[in-house]
Symmetry: D4
Subunit: 229 residues, 8 copies
């Protein structure tokens, strides 16, 4: 197992990652200058490697597009992607659920990341537990997915109810929505970590990306297990 990577001076592009982890390239745009981003995308474009950028600002996107790169952007999910070939389609499907309308950006990040990596995604938005019947009326559909992403801020208990009602693995994403003692998502994170429900786990606050990738890994296991048989 040897790693290949391109050295851009300020960054070493990890070209062998797809082979190693099964995922194509992703870029965390937030902490990079727009010039650095353009160079990174160019470097991938030369090799016709599709790439997904997260937490991309409108300004960053415009700079990269104007540099002549074939990128697409969603201002809700803040994803900037560059695709050279359709994603390999994964088996099964992923359900993305949110507690409230304010969790939308994180949910779209999770959903679009999963779609980029070839997953089929179903969205169940605004099904928070302060109106529990909204959730229960959808629970069978949600439970028919092979991986469920449950996104909520405030008190973060959505995941507990979902995980205790279905058979699929549940990935919880706390969001930074809230005020006062929500501590920018820390309370939701702790609530989810302490859930008494089985079959769920947690990623970082607002980390829709991480949840989307993890859900795809679960779907891929179906594929790789079947391939071995």
């Amino acid at each position: 197992m040897t790693d290949k990577f391109n050295d851009l001076g300020f960054a070493k592009l990890d070209i062998s990652r797809q082979e190693r982890t099964g995922m194509s390239e992703t870029v965390f745009c937030q902490s990079k200058t727009k010039e650095q981003l353009a160079k990174i995308y160019q470097s991938f474009a030369k090799e016709k490697i599709s790439v997904l950028g997260t937490r991309c600002s409108t300004e960053q996107f415009e700079y990269v597009r104007e540099a002549g790169l074939p990128v697409e952007y969603s201002s809700v999910s803040r994803i900037m992607k560059m695709c050279f070939s359709p994603a390999h389609k994964l088996p099964g499907k992923i359900a993305v659920c949110t507690g409230g309308t304010s969790d939308l950006p994180v949910a779209e990040e999770a959903a679009q990341v999963a779609e980029f990596f070839g997953a089929e995604v179903e969205r169940y938005f605004d099904v928070g537990i302060s109106g529990i019947h909204r959730l229960l009326s959808k629970i069978e559909q949600i439970g028919s997915a092979q991986a469920v992403i449950s996104i909520s801020g405030m008190d973060g208990s959505l995941s507990t109810v979902i995980a205790s009602q279905i058979k699929a693995p549940v990935i919880s994403v706390p969001t930074s929505v809230g005020y006062g003692a929500s501590f920018n998502g820390l309370t939701a994170l702790l609530t989810m970590i302490n859930s008494s429900a089985e079959g769920m786990s947690v990623v970082n606050i607002d980390n829709g990306f991480g949840a989307g990738v993890l859900a795809c890994r679960i779907l891929r296991m179906i594929e790789s297990y079947n391939a071995k048989k």
Copy 2:
């Protein structure tokens, strides 16, 4: 408004509290020596004032009983009470709900405190949201109380579901049950404080006593409002 109090040297008994706050005397036993407790109970016994002691150890109870005082004790709620006359009966009723069996001691403290002060109490134990239908099947009965006490540890979301399904005020009690990132109840406390459900509020971790007293105050408002009419 002048206060009367007996001075025992180490403690000033607040004899006028009943008149001022409408509640008879209570003693927080935990941080007192058994000798101090016996003196305090004797001082009330002389005046034939009923008194409720919370967080009382078996050892403290036995010392006070052997000092000849007519006290009763519950090892579950850790309440030691001394009653000289039946409590004045309050209108309405209180529902006490718990998330799991481990919340029992706090629930009994809340329930017995409320009963000591004259309330009718209904118990709904082990109705946590990881088995949501246990709760929903009882929700109408719970909602027929005039004050609901909702007690849970772990992720503390029981209150959110209850408060969003009924019309009565809900008092949430986080418990120190749990492990890891439950931080002895702090996570449950924060979850409850951040709940997106309306109509609920929170008392200190394991503070069944405070919840019971507050619920009684709510019932008493019915009485005093009707008396004024």
Copy 3:
């Protein structure tokens, strides 16, 4: 018990909440776009349902008003309400107390929410305990309410003094006023949660809305208890 709700795509309006919890609709404006808000208000306007929006910015209000909706706005409480019929009047009254002038916005949120839901409200502002006689001179009037909302930042001890001097239930609201180790209201929250006074409970930092709703639930219990008799 089945829930009705309108699905706006980004939000599911919980139309049956009034029936379930006894309160008409409320909207947390802060995390919504002005376009989303306008659609939500329009959706309620069609059904002639009164609605109360909290944490509404001036810009959001102006957008919704210009969309032709009959909304009213208070820049102090940041409440945007739309009323189609006078609120059903609740029995009794609520006292809203503050520690200092800086707690005014939270206090007005609590008071106006309570008034929206039909309560009579009396305001006692700037009665903090660093000038204890200001408070004690009003305590009998405060204590004649059926529910007391006590709002303070800094060290948050106002509630302790109030709760120990009256018979009514006390709802404490910590505010984010302060500096240094006030931690944006966390210190006041912890002080209130630890209060040695009986008969009080706590809502989230700056959550005037939650306190107002809870106080109304208490008044409504008088009504519903009397209705059953």
Copy 4:
């Protein structure tokens, strides 16, 4: 979807959970008295339902065994199980990795829970990153599992290295091993939550049980997906 449950007074047994979540019964022994435990196991024994108890003390186990119940116990994992029929075998396998020898109890809890629910488990113990080649020499074998559980205390970086080197989903379990600023596992938890590696998520400190159940849910998705085809 209606829930069945037996009411033992202090506990409501959630008999329909297997049907709903696909897992048979589990009991969190820690916060229950030995008498309560014996009653719970008897209640399941009557229905010939297999049951898994976690965080069980030697004393609790001995009491339940002496009550005539066919239970088995591991003092390392602290699991007390009662089996009436062999577990349904799940497809694929699970790898359980630990950073150090002190993480053994949590690792065994995870492994034995997964085995109880029918999974094949491979153990990779003491492969922490302060001796990175111990880990890298095993990474291909680890990566051939369909779900990987990565357990470590101290600085908790084991998961980051594993997740970045394989294709399978990784479930991280922080442990309370350590001293000083390890804060009983909180530092490891935060490290894992912040990992820059993709494809991993986190459960509560020392929660081997939760990791084991979640890993089984992932394997079961292979089965249920293939069943639908």
Copy 5:
């Protein structure tokens, strides 16, 4: 200014401290072995220097006494003192106030430390603000001291009320009394640090010793100012 000190190997006794800071010797017993303590006291006894030991256990005291040293001990304050001459009497007096009976050990530590250094001390115990009139009835007497020590746990608001009613400087001591979100005195500490009252400051949790010494420094300033005139 050169320091003199005796070197005992494990400790350097700071013999010139009296000259430098005006206070005779003190020893923090808690983290020392009884053998070390005996050597330290012997070393002072040889020079006929009076010494005050704080946080001394009964076992430590007995060992030192049996080593033939003329020590006195209070099991409430946990102070072990050895006096060779009466303390120089300080001008004015100190008032020591507590919120509840559980604050007694800290209060006695403060009071006895002040008395050891020559101050006149008046005790006002159990005057917490949940019975505000107990405090207000004594406030003039308290205010006639030149330094006031205000000791309380739970919510720690006693100091705010005292400091806002008198002219003397107030030293607040948070105590570790309480439960739940009292965090062993941290909440009381934060409450006191955030007090909106002027003229007060705070020492460490349970640090009666520090408060006593500081109060004596204030009295001594009267003396030294008058001496200079």
Copy 6:
């Protein structure tokens, strides 16, 4: 003891405070609108009462001055004062010490507050312990004051060294200067609270005002003690 206060609707001016606490009026400007401030100052101006405002912005000052009030302003200390008669001169003097140049604004707030209330102040700036001889060369002068204010951010150990070298009481003010794990002054606060040096106490982060007032209370005790003699 009855309190007099003017009721401005949004604020109750505490007119009797001077009589009660010996200090004239102060106003915390930060959380007030400029219109409210102007009304408050006008209300005092009518009664010819001197007043000190802290944390006043340039904009607030200019509004109040333009409203015709005789106010003076310091942009360093952010104090806006209005004086109608020279302050009563206090006996003794106060030393104000800082660890670095960045602590200047807090130091000037402390110094100017003390001067407003009649104290003589000596300033010792930039004497932090990372250049310990700068401090030691001034220590005798510092120690000749009757009250010492020690202000520092970063690691906050200045107070420990000062308090252990002099006889006067030391008031420590942590400042919010620093970065990283300074947590806006919390680390300095905790360092000071834990100091092993005797004779010091702590006020809130950046609370130069509180330190200045407390130092004046100490000086005033000299005066009042001598007056009683």
Copy 7:
């Protein structure tokens, strides 16, 4: 050992520091006004003393340059230096490693500080452990330095891997890069403090300066040890 320093009123320049600690002057620009900075640089320029300023803004630099001082500036490291003679060259070399491209500013601060003080520096950027082979392929070169600075945010585990693979001392710098539960670098700091790897220690979040200085001290020990021989 007497200290020399120039007194600028707002600052005491510590002129003897070079002699005492072996390092020439440094200035923490962040909390100083541009006017103060200019005066400080002028004061050093008069004595022909080289000086290094950290956390300098572009605006501060421009003001000082326009004041006629011979300063150089790097907008990446935010260092403003003024050199009058080449630095004395230190023996050996320092390796500066980063986990990601976002850690660049901190890394450049560390590297340029070390270069200012005469060290030879090698840079190894973007070698984070989520692509472990990038790091391992360089580890021998890194290990040939006499002091290694390891800089990373997110989960901060880079240092653990480096320290366990080489013989040189490792200085870890947590960075504030990250989001959610990274808490502005606190998680990385705690991870590093808890590392199970030997031979490493930690400086403050983003404190490239401190790491650079410490690394130089290590190199200088080689020199001073050899000089003594």
Copy 8:
């Protein structure tokens, strides 16, 4: 670079570590059973490899000694070592300084670890800054070492003073000594991390071992640098 290690089932002994990091074997005894420890020591004894165990209890030591292994034990430092050949002597020397007598166990752990690895160690105990002249009188001797370990609890400022007075690198060890808001060493850790003094870094609370190893790495750089020349 390939790693050799013995697999004991529960532990993989990292036999190649000496070659890789230059240090012989160490064992963290605390979290191992005495049986595991005996097996580990036996495994090293077979290969005649010297080994150092830290945080070893008396009971563990006695079990291993009775198993016939040639171990030595210090009850102060809690180190159990087994030596087969004298340590290779390192150039230079290390100074170990403590703030108080209670820091002794951590100091001895640091010193004995350094001695085990071949360093010459000088001890400077009880030189805390509350008696600053004790420290300053020794500072030249301390500064003549090539690496200084500074150990203190309470407020942890010892390191700041030392680091600002000498040229050698300083390794700070916070200790868990203290009470109240010392938070078991966290306050000391934060103080040290925030120190304004240059040339120092921090290891975990009570981690004398880590400090000793790091100091030895610094000495070894002198040796390896000179060897290359």
